[in-house]
């Protein structure tokens, strides 16, 4: 519940920031519901076990923090200020997730296997969260020129890998990448190729959970219609009563 409230809040802060550019909330919601608005691909992967709560908090929220810390220094004030709030709250999610991973990795054989299985499934999607390589990223150059982004996708991805490898060592789990190795010259970890075909399939709306994700959003939207209508009607009634008095 605490995480759900936070995430709903993050959505709200970002919608509010977007609205300062002159777009309406209605328009943004319509775009999302009709599939015209992109959202993070990471939400299109299934979450079958409890260990996913740990791996998502640790890796997905961890990757989000790396990206969002950079965005707190973004040149657009409303966006940067939203990011400061978001980072504080994401930090709770990440630490909670990592603690779950510690508990599972110190637990029974079965719990350990659950933790490793979740890591195996979430590692590559987490690396994809940083977006295409810089040479293939259509927006990076513009975003860097305007200081919307201060670091490129590949720089942030490297920062995340270096951090996650150390955290994974502590857990005693294995990152599912045979090419992962410390590079003395670069003083960074080298890592294997990302499956960009999978990335583009998911980004273009054909991931394992895209359809279900949007269907769930649509259902929540229509099931909540009566609440929105009631709130509007109630406000109207109160206003009418005040006018009479």
């Amino acid at each position: 519940m605490a995480k759900v409230q936070d995430e709903a809040g993050h959505g709200l802060y970002l919608y509010a920031a977007a609205e300062t550019l002159g777009v309406t909330r209605d328009d943004l919601m319509n775009r999302l519901h009709s599939g015209r608005q992109k959202y993070s691909s990471i939400f299109n992967y299934p979450t079958p076990t409890w260990a996913d709560m740990g791996a998502i908090g640790w890796l997905v929220d961890g990757a989000a923090i790396v990206n969002q810390l950079m965005l707190t220094r973004c040149s657009y004030g409303p966006y940067a200020r939203a990011m400061i709030k978001i980072c504080k709250e994401e930090s709770f999610h990440q630490r909670q997730g990592y603690e779950i991973m510690i508990t599972l990795s110190r637990g029974t054989e079965e719990q350990r296997a659950m933790a490793q299985d979740a890591l195996d499934r979430w590692w590559w999607p987490s690396l994809m969260m940083f977006g295409p390589h810089d040479v293939d990223s259509p927006h990076t150059e513009q975003s860097m020129a305007w200081n919307i982004k201060r670091q490129t996708n590949d720089e942030l991805r490297q920062e995340f890998v270096d951090m996650a490898v150390r955290q994974c060592d502590y857990l005693g789990l294995t990152i599912p990448d045979p090419d992962l190795v410390w590079n003395e010259d670069r003083e960074h970890y080298d890592f294997g190729p990302i499956d960009w075909d999978e990335f583009w399939v998911v980004a273009k709306g054909n991931g394992p959970m895209n359809r279900e994700c949007i269907d769930r959003k649509l259902a929540a939207w229509s099931e909540g219609a009566w609440v929105r209508e009631a709130s509007t009607a109630h406000a109207e009634k109160r206003r009418a009563r005040v006018e009479v008095a």
Binding site: A2, Q5, D6, G9, L12, Y13, A16, E19, G22, V23, T24, R25, D26, D27, M29, A82, K85, A225, R228, E229, S231, T232, A233, H234, A235, E236, R238, R239
Partner: protein
């Protein structure tokens, strides 16, 4: 030298929305939170709500889940009157060439001590 704050497209300038509009035509409210007694209210963000009461409740849920506040104000965004950012230079300029308004402008001999 004030200018009108234009409502966002589709935004009602009224405190309460038009009943005919879709629910998300709710007006925008600016949220100010006082962190603790003795401090002033500080702008925290904005949100849409059908009326002032629901705006307050939503503001509590969105902006004070971690003891960030002891008091909240919500103000209809459309009611805020702001100075023109384009005119900031001329609007605030006269203060810069009046150093005699600052205490450090005046020379007090050391022997006098702190004054």
């Amino acid at each position: 030298m004030v200018y009108e704050v234009h409502p966002a497209p589709g935004e009602s300038t009224d405190d309460a929305p038009d009943a005919e509009k879709p629910a998300l035509g709710w007006p925008l409210w600016e949220v100010f939170v006082r962190q603790r007694r003795g401090l002033n209210h500080v702008h925290a963000g904005s949100l849409h709500a059908s009326d002032a009461r629901t705006a307050l409740q939503s503001a509590r849920d969105v902006y004070t889940r971690r003891v960030e506040g002891t008091s909240i104000w919500v103000v209809p965004s459309a009611k805020i009157v702001a100075s023109d950012p384009e005119a900031a230079e001329s609007w605030f300029d006269p203060a810069a060439d009046k150093p005699y308004r600052h205490p450090t402008f005046y020379d007090i001999p050391d022997e006098v001590g702190h004054i």
